[in-house]
Symmetry: C2
Subunit: 205 residues, 2 copies
């Protein structure tokens, strides 16, 4: 009789523990990022991302302290703690470039892959990034390297229709999807690595 009771209560204890563990895992999983941002984004001051003390002191005429699609995008890019791989057709937006320079100054490993033709257009930030010592490679094929994605810490995917240009951010109708789902992130991690190796300038004729 006692044995049966002990077994019964033991089973209850095990089941409850499993349940608590599941709740814990579920709670962690629920915190995974899965967001969509639409553009154009309202133009607001983003100086606080670059000089944290400027939130209350910036005197520029733009609205301050407003959360927008663009400020959320900057937030996710600046969340990188070890690496940032950027694969964009066109890169001329100054604040996105400043975000990469800031991460670079913090010792984050940054790699930028872009389209050869669009790396030389007016206002491109590619030269600025290269000058600062950020590793940039250009797709040298005759077709367009038309991707617009970035992977933060091999964990967070930022992808969509948005080129990293001021027109795309402030004027066009665009979308960006931000996810930590490994089923979606990992293929992009691998594709970046493949394209990066395929465009190694030391192995090109």
């Amino acid at each position: 009789m006692w044995t049966l009771k002990v077994v019964g209560l033991g089973a209850v204890a095990v089941s409850l523990s499993v349940e608590l563990l599941r709740l814990f895992i579920h709670f962690r999983a629920k915190r995974a990022i899965n967001k969509v941002l639409f553009f154009p984004s309202e133009v607001t001051c983003v100086e606080h991302f670059f000089s944290p003390l400027s939130t209350h002191s910036c005197l520029c005429p733009l609205p301050h302290g407003v959360e927008t699609s663009f400020s959320r995008l900057l937030h996710y890019i600046l969340s990188a703690s070890s690496s940032l791989n950027v694969c964009v057709f066109s890169f001329s937006e100054v604040n996105l470039s400043r975000a990469l320079l800031l991460l670079h100054s913090r010792g984050i490993t940054i790699r930028v892959l872009t389209d050869r033709d669009y790396s030389a257009i007016n206002g491109t930030q590619i030269g600025v990034l290269r000058k600062a010592g950020i590793c940039v490679r250009c797709d040298r094929t005759s077709v367009h390297m038309h991707h617009k994605f970035a992977v933060v810490d091999e964990r967070l995917l930022i992808t969509g229709s948005l080129n990293w240009t001021q027109t795309a951010v402030q004027r066009n109708k665009e979308n960006i999807l931000i996810t930590e789902d490994p089923e979606l992130v990992q293929p992009f991690v691998k594709e970046f690595q493949r394209l990066w190796l395929n465009n190694n300038p030391t192995q090109l004729n």
Copy 2:
């Protein structure tokens, strides 16, 4: 004593039932689509999508029976059973147009939103779709309607860098992400509806 035993065994039974229910839900959730396709896609015969009997009879010189990124994209588009909302900057790929005409002939509700400037370029399929009676609206603002997404049955999102053109499919480096995750799909469902209403030609000056 008996009460304690009954309570213990009852708790075990309840815990096991909850566990089974969780497994069932987990199994269903796992079947949700979450895919990434990369382009360019190998050029293969896709006639079997349009004439199911042609799989063994098509005499075209392209490879047959090969699964590619493009054939998977066609498969997901043709899986629509009630509605398809397409929001693409540029639409000139003939087989994607044929897919929409096939769905239209099956009575699926199709709505296409595109960029005004790119709706009139050489090879555009917008005229073909309109002629067949598919409802098309053009974004008439001076900025680009740069999206490249579609929503199947308000359940499945197809989005990425890929315009619906032959160059994008067969030549460029592009990506498409396909997901049933409601957190990602629902914002696109709402954004399509917003853009569709904003571009109602009967309410424009």
